[in-house]
Subunit: 475 residues, 2 copies
């Protein structure tokens, strides 16, 4: 009976519904999805197809309302997708027409199969009820393929922009990345820890720190859990990971920087060298890609992104910084020979090179000059100007930084002094090295960065629910 | 051949080894546990029994060294437990005797079964190697049943005190509580979110906040993710959870307060009332107890604690605040009739009552006076002086606070004004209520509190790796 032919709406609805059906959150909606109809309980959009011929109750947001040939169509949206509800002029069409967009409503109706409806089912409306009306016009429409507003306006109205199918997909993917990170590390003998974010001193001697007034004492927000995860290794846990906020008071205001971000950290003891740490990261990346393919493929489709593939037989390439500099000069005429780190252009080009020539969208860059890395980085015993450090680059962006750390007390004190820093500042950290610290190393992955890169987002802010940057402190 | 009879050491070793064998972290130690011997790779203490008659390499900390009848015994500790290594006077006894306690060492040797050794195996030492010597005496011994030092001294030397078998058990349990929380909520259709901890204003109008200097602007550390998790519900995620830090600048310095703690938060939309939220918490608690029984029983034994049991047929009792006040007066002569909340004594007594009379160590207290709850709490429509709120008490302590929230814009503005607060302060929060906010509610569980209560710890600081309190900002 339904004959709605508005292609655009159908497309949006399909995109959302597909991403919803993929099982966003495991056994999503255990409540209200089994035998709910008989009890008058809410049925989720995704599950309506299980109730053909039955009377059900739906609850959600008014995604769109359209009239066509005496019929009124309500697209109702919940966390699992969009479902089409229909009323005719003799029945509930007028009621549907009056529903304000984005209001929260309850719909009573009977489910029927209709191959022309998005998702293959529609609900013949027997009644509607406004639970909480939208009392203001939406600042931009979220029932189209894209959002017709700039990123700043979207972030200013975050509760609205997040309702868009693409945003929902982004955060389903992000949550899944974190789940896979934790589960992979647990399978490798790591334990989850929580370390303090209010600290007495920074890991780098005091730059780019946000000051906190701690009962009248000057404290700071932690730039990373670096010292504490090392201390946890030395405290006998050996292999630890943490998913937590990190804070950088950097003035940068670019598409790749956030001042508050989520850091996926790990640290492991009893390693041979930084290669052991890269092995763990490579294991995680392989697990990540295969799990995302299994659970979040539809969300990648919604975002128009492709899940990268790693050839099962080949490792992620590991290139020394000096090799990368040579490749960039020979292949692209880019001269970074005087630098101690890659610049954005260099990161982009070496990633192109690896994708084209080595068949990998990921590449480890190793052996950075020691001067470019923090004081706790283990020097390379073959060339003390180099360090046992690495970055992981992916699609033109550094998404991980890591390495082996110094585990000998005397060497660490020397390294601190060589930076012109005062060992007394690091008293509590240094103490951990006086009672048997094993050789160890670790890494940190920027969650929003890897999410943005995987999904092809232009700005890392799109992967942060409520981003904090140089100018943004609200909402 | 080994005849060590020092009971105390054996006991400690057994306690650690038992807790280790329970599989602290799932498939702990995938690296170094399978076929490691042949390749000269590290074997974990827990796995040595798989290599009887083979030559292996062990790495870990020097837990204890003892000489007895011409033999020297090294108890070597790693994250999986303690293993006994033996050298005789003709071989490596002198070498063992020289190993400083808590140094990191490598031991080469052959595994043999010995029913008298802790764990049933011991390693005949063929050589030792000091990887990183302990260069200072330990401030207290950690190879005995307890630590002979006050809590402050233990926290000052946290990297040492955490190496004790009991501390290791505590944090294995804590990590497991978090894992179970996340997995249970995912099974119920919840999605994990990360919300900002740097905020422009507090949830309670400005008290007990730590100020942050945010690029010259005054900001604060979030007391809870309250506003943001509600906004995430309204942003279409419907059911969200977060595990993150929360900050309270309270001057309290008691055994139950931390100024930085980990909050297990959830928020859910499309609820009937706060009963739906309590149902989810009860489901989590049941999952928690059965999973802890399955995976962490040995750690509870190490801590001398019992995992509580909930009768499968009965719900956790739900008592109104007014009922609790009446019970306390009738049963214990404690008069709280002029109060709007329980005091510590009241919490302790009502928990005793419920354990004895109702067979539950958990109890929900509901319908607190509205004046005692935050401005976003939904009033009870039957008695507007009461609120749709609840606490979960466990073994004498409040471990959860939750309730239904106001979802109507006008009611929320009224509630803010009634507290003498200015709605303009809450501009960004209020905006979320203008575009269709579903009825919703949620709760927050204090991670260190529930860990401490489950394990019978006297002080919540023992469940924090590096606690922050009124006086403590280091290590």
């Amino acid at each position: 009976m339904a004959t709605m032919e508005t292609v655009k709406i159908e497309e949006t609805a399909k995109a959302m519904e597909t991403s919803g059906t993929a099982g966003a959150t495991g056994a999503a909606g255990a409540i209200g999805s089994a035998g709910a109809a008989g009890k008058g309980e809410r049925v989720l959009a995704r599950d309506a197809g299980n109730y053909i011929g039955e009377d059900i109750v739906l609850e959600g947001w008014v995604h769109n309302v359209r009239s066509l040939g005496g019929l009124s169509f309500l697209l109702l949206r919940d966390r699992t997708g969009v479902i089409q509800c229909v009323g005719d002029a003799a029945g509930h069409a007028a009621e549907i027409d009056r529903l304000p967009t984005e209001s929260v409503v309850r719909v009573y109706g009977r489910v029927r199969a209709d191959s022309r409806a998005p998702g293959g089912v529609e609900v013949e409306v027997a009644g509607t009820e406004v639970i909480n009306a939208s009392i203001e016009n939406v600042p931009f429409e979220i029932n189209k393929n894209g959002i017709n507003a700039g990123l700043d306006v979207q972030l200013d109205n975050r509760v609205i922009s997040l309702r868009h199918a693409t945003a929902q997909a982004i955060f389903r993917v992000e949550a899944e990345i974190v789940r896979i990170f934790r589960e992979y590390l647990r399978s490798q003998g790591f334990i989850e820890v929580f370390t303090p974010k209010i600290v007495a001193s920074g890991t780098e001697g005091g730059s780019a720190l946000f000051p906190v007034d701690y009962f009248g004492r000057r404290a700071f927000l932690a730039q990373s859990p670096q010292f504490y995860k090392q201390m946890a290794v030395g405290a006998g846990f050996e292999r630890v990971f943490e998913v937590g906020h990190a804070y950088r008071a950097e003035e940068h205001n670019t598409s790749r920087h956030l001042n508050e971000y989520v850091s996926l950290d790990l640290e492991m003891g009893f390693i041979k060298d930084e290669g052991d740490v890269m092995d763990v990261e490579e294991g995680f990346i392989r697990s990540l890609l295969s799990e995302l393919e299994r659970t979040r493929k539809a969300d990648f489709d919604t975002c128009g992104a492709k899940i990268p593939v790693l050839p099962p037989e080949a490792r992620i390439p590991r290139l020394r910084f000096s090799e990368v500099v040579a490749i960039l000069k020979d292949e692209y005429g880019l001269d970074l020979s005087r630098r101690t780190d890659l610049d954005p252009e260099g990161e982009r080009l070496i990633c192109s090179y690896c994708a084209e020539k080595l068949g990998s969208e990921f590449v480890f860059v190793t052996h950075f000059p020691r001067s470019a890395r923090p004081m706790y980085t283990m020097p390379d015993e073959n060339d003390p100007k180099l360090s046992r450090s690495f970055d992981l680059l992916f699609r033109g962006l550094e998404v991980t930084t890591g390495g082996q750390r110094i585990h000998k007390y005397d060497m660490l004190v020397e390294s601190i002094k060589a930076r012109g820093l005062n060992p007394a500042t690091f008293e509590h950290y240094l103490k951990a090295f006086t009672h048997g610290m094993p050789p160890h190393g670790g890494l940190a992955i920027g969650l929003e960065r890897i999410t943005a890169r995987l999904l092809g987002l232009g700005n890392v802010r799109e992967a942060s629910l409520f981003p904090r940057d140089r100018d943004r402190l609200t909402p």
